[in-house]
Symmetry: C2
Subunit: 608 residues, 2 copies
């Protein structure tokens, strides 16, 4: 699996600030001093002018590019000379919007996984862990990103909790916390502002978070998921939001770019927006400087099977985008979006030497990766060891529930005066869709309790508050998973990440809940009182310290277990993880109960 | 001439920072509050996507753009509604490199002159006045730019003096002064770094100035006037210089853009680089985001006869650039160069409402100018009064010389043992060229003094130190002006701006020098002991408080006077102003003597 022990440890010092090394760079460019590294004879993907320039050398010193052109005079005895061999040299790829937690890995394992795919910088919004651990979770993610080759420009989560009042989270990040982090050096912008109703409506706290970001000269990143591109989108952009990854139609992205907003076109594991949205570029002759490509949420299987930013660039090319234009979307355009183009996003003098050598530009085969001028990947394989994450106990023990659970915890009392059956509201999930449907179904009453109806595809559903040991539990019914036996549970349940359990058997629901409580959170499948598959996610109940391959194997085992229990859905845990997300239509369950998200109000479990 | 008194005074408050008005902008975009101004029915020059969008409205509030699209719902009883009448709406034009002093006007008069031509922001480098008055001159220029509609983003002069040791200036601005200004809010970047040898050579003071600029997150602007585009240009750019206006060949600009440097293509009064340099765009299909258009030095006549940024955009279009692309070069590209694109350079929500209404896109006829949402120009005429400049005595009395001058002050003693003639080195000036030629000529010796030879086209030349009352005078001979009688003098003499006199008559040279000393500097022509034309420039000996038309009339009168004295050159004072500029080939005269600029050494006046 991992061969870290055979690799040299990553020890490169952080790249110097440009103001601290201009004399050295000038001396190297002039040949008075010699380069640390020279890459000879590449075909330069010049994202500045949109050209391929043949037979170009790149001289590197102090982690930055000293010269692009003929570098013969910069080569000395101690200079490492790399033969470009006519390969394409492109700037390292930037992912402008991404949640590391979705990969269920630590930042360090994520780095090990994505760097071979050409990703050299990410702009993560750690709002999943922030919902569990607040500032402490944020600080853990920042610390986990230090001293590693991947450049991690962490964003301040803007919406913790996502839906105040409708669920219990582990933490609240308000305007004061935002202002304090913005004033520091560890945060590079405001994470996706999902509360667009608050922006449009002029909510004071929401605008205060934006204001402290703008005042710090940092970037407000967006999440505008409405199809409306008139007054609402204008109000959102006028409020200082600079980019948005929520376009699902070509016209959404086009409207945003026309209004000066960076359209971050998404191709994640679950959301395949690129095919449709890239038509904003391929079907029009527009200036594409406001177009970017991003991943948002990517799961281990996608990273292993398809890659990361290389995959997304490849997808854009497959859809008809010129390769240079596609590469601009993950380099200079992204750097300009975050106004970091003095350092990143192009192969040019003075810029940080994050460089990819690519053997074929259409299939985007990344062979070699330089980060800060150091070789990190050769022949597609990591060549340096990234030290293990330091995970203190304080981020591990986050499942706080009264336990052990028993089957009775998942009993649902029938309404007073109920007969032998009641009409219940049922959340119907849909495969590979984020929306649910609000359905009703007649369910039997036995001994004063309402039963699920596995034969009719209806399972029990529970969401247990797991941050503050209140045990507060929302209970309901869900159709679409189709469990005919057993139970599944997960502590990945957006965005509050409470403990969610789905089951055909209350007894197995209790076993599942107990199993996750004992391992610090994760995902589990149970049959006949036995755990048949388990992915422990001890970090905040969201992430594992294990290698990507190990996590992926356990995810595959869980998928197989779901099938055994009767569910044929693709990636059912991904669908399950959204059942509690009360920002999406139509019906959702949180620890506080059933929510009609078409009216943003709590609703009864039974139709009166 | 001026009709200021009939106009309302400019009283608009400065535009609010975006973070202070996002709630208001959102409320207006949503229609909850009403816009201050709505421009209806324009053809939008969308520089973001490079398109013309028909029938578009623009809603403005708090000096910024709240909405672009259909603004019907933002119009209330108090909203000023302007009929766009199908005209083109373009962002206000930005001039990314300009010296106001070259116009011989105050910043305020310059603003009155250029705003009707669509210029709404300038990035001036006041290095002329800084050579005379140092920080005090800089502060005057900053103060003169306050409270006026033109946005003035003053740059810190980087090279005062331009050629240390070869001339006496009124001030020195070193790394400490640079660092102090950079830390403040009144300076937006480092002015053109003319000392490219210092950058390439790693000079500590030069790199220190760059470092303090980069550390402040500001922009280092360039001046790289060599044809070399290899190691030197790489060293220069690697040192953090972001833009350069000195390209004179298409390949210069192309090389810069490829290396990630903004190529600021120049079309000034004297330097017509655009015709050649724009071929870097018109003859190639490159991404033009790194191309800008700038004016550098513009004289009153050009501003009156041709315009300012409208003229330069027009020139680019005449050379074959698409109008939208040309407008991008003076809007979004320039804003991105200075990383001010969150505020400037496009018509989009949240941006400052600097907007032009243009009747014809090819001829760039600017009819209406909005600045910060307020109408400043209608029907091509200024509609607001900009208050008069406040010019303290401390910037007026800058001519410090022992005087009165007499003819004897301009006598040139013959070398010991000279016979009836000597061979002297002569500076030959060339019409409309910045370079001079180093010539020699035999000149008669009379009474132990070397005489000029007006009949042979050779005049006397003197440069008198005028800052510190030393009276130190460099004396020499010049050919090419061809004065047959009288004398001319000027205190505009780059870059030290000492007192320069050219004459056929030593007595008239003294009269000319005395006339300028008495009026605080300027330009003068004298014949037979009488002043026949005079342009007083009492502000630092460089600028006048008078209106542009008045200055232009006096310049025209001076040009006529030169002709009377025997000079047929076009704009002879412009050529004369460079005779002392010891950064240009081949032979120059400063107050310290004759300089061979091919070897950067002083040289004797006579050939031994």
């Amino acid at each position: 699996m991992e061969k870290q022990t055979s690799k040299p440890k990553w020890t490169s010092a952080p790249v110097e600030k440009l103001q601290d090394c201009t004399r050295r760079l000038a001396a190297v460019a002039m040949g008075r001093e010699k380069a640390d590294t020279v890459i000879r004879g590449v075909r330069l993907v010049n994202v500045n002018t949109g050209e391929i320039l043949p037979d170009t050398d790149i001289a590197i010193a102090a982690g930055r590019i000293a010269l692009v052109g003929d570098a013969s005079h910069t080569i000395g005895d101690a200079t490492a000379v790399i033969d470009g061999a006519g390969r394409y040299a492109a700037p390292g790829f930037l992912d402008g919007h991404i949640h590391v937690e979705s990969s269920m890995m630590t930042v360090r394992e994520y780095a090990r996984t994505v760097i071979p795919h050409g990703t050299t910088s990410i702009f993560p919004d750690p709002h999943e862990i922030a919902n569990v651990l607040g500032e402490h979770g944020l600080e853990f993610m920042i610390a986990d990103a230090e001293g590693i080759p991947l450049r991690v420009f962490t964003q301040m989560p803007s919406c913790v909790p996502a839906v105040p009042g409708f669920e219990e989270t582990g933490a609240v990040l308000g305007p004061q916390e935002t202002a304090r982090f913005m004033a520091g050096d560890s945060i590079y912008g405001l994470g996706e502002m999902m509360n667009f109703p608050g922006v449009l409506g002029g909510d004071a706290d929401t605008h205060s978070k934006i204001a402290s970001t703008l005042a710090a000269g940092k970037t407000v990143t967006g999440h505008y998921s409405m199809p409306e591109t008139g007054m609402g989108l204008n109000a959102y952009i006028a409020s200082g939001v600079r980019c948005c990854h929520e376009s699902v139609r070509a016209e959404d992205a086009l409207a945003k770019m026309r209004l000066g907003m960076y359209a971050q076109i998404r191709e994640g594991s679950a959301w395949h927006d690129l095919h449709e949205v890239i038509r904003s570029i391929t079907e029009r002759k527009i200036d594409s400087r406001f177009a970017c490509l991003i991943s948002d949420d990517t799961h281990p299987h996608t990273l292993i099977a398809h890659g990361h930013m290389d995959h997304i660039v490849r997808r854009a090319i497959q859809e008809g985008v010129d390769p240079i234009t596609a590469i601009q979307m993950v380099t200079i355009n992204a750097a300009q979006c975050f106004q970091m183009d003095k350092d990143l996003g192009s192969i040019a003098p003075g810029k940080i030497a994050d460089i990819l050598l690519i053997s074929d530009l259409t299939s985007v085969q990344v062979e070699t990766v330089f980060i800060g001028g150091a070789i990190v990947v050769e022949e597609g394989e990591m060549r340096v060891e990234i030290p293990a994450s330091q995970c203190p106990d304080s981020i591990r023990n986050t499942i706080h529930v009264p336990h052990p659970f028993t089957a009775e915890d998942f009993a649902i009392p029938a309404p007073q005066n109920a007969g032998s059956a009641v009409t219940a509201r049922v959340i119907q999930v849909l495969e590979a869709k984020v929306g649910t449907l609000a359905k009703t179904h007649s369910l039997p009453v036995v001994d004063g309790h309402v039963c699920a109806d596995a034969a009719a595809g209806i399972n029990k559903l529970a969401v247990v508050e797991r941050h503050k040991n209140t045990g507060e539990t929302g209970r309901g019914f869900v159709s679409g998973f189709g469990l005919r036996q057993g139970a599944v549970a997960s502590t990945v349940a957006h965005d509050a990440h409470n403990l969610m359990i789905v089951g055909a058997s209350e007894a197995d629901m209790a076993v599942a809940a107990n199993a996750l409580t004992e391992c610090g959170g994760g995902m589990v499948a149970v049959r006949d009182g036995e755990v048949i598959a388990l992915l422990p996610l001890p970090i905040a109940g969201l992430m594992s310290e294990e290698p990507v391959q190990s996590i992926n194997e356990k995810v595959q085992a869980l998928d197989a277990a779901w099938k055994i229990l009767g569910c044929d859905m693709v990636s059912p845990f991904m669908t399950m993880a959204l059942v509690s997300l009360a920002v999406l239509p139509e019906l959702r369950l949180t620890n506080k109960g059933l929510i009609d998200t078409t009216t943003y109000s709590f609703t009864g479990l039974f139709v009166e």
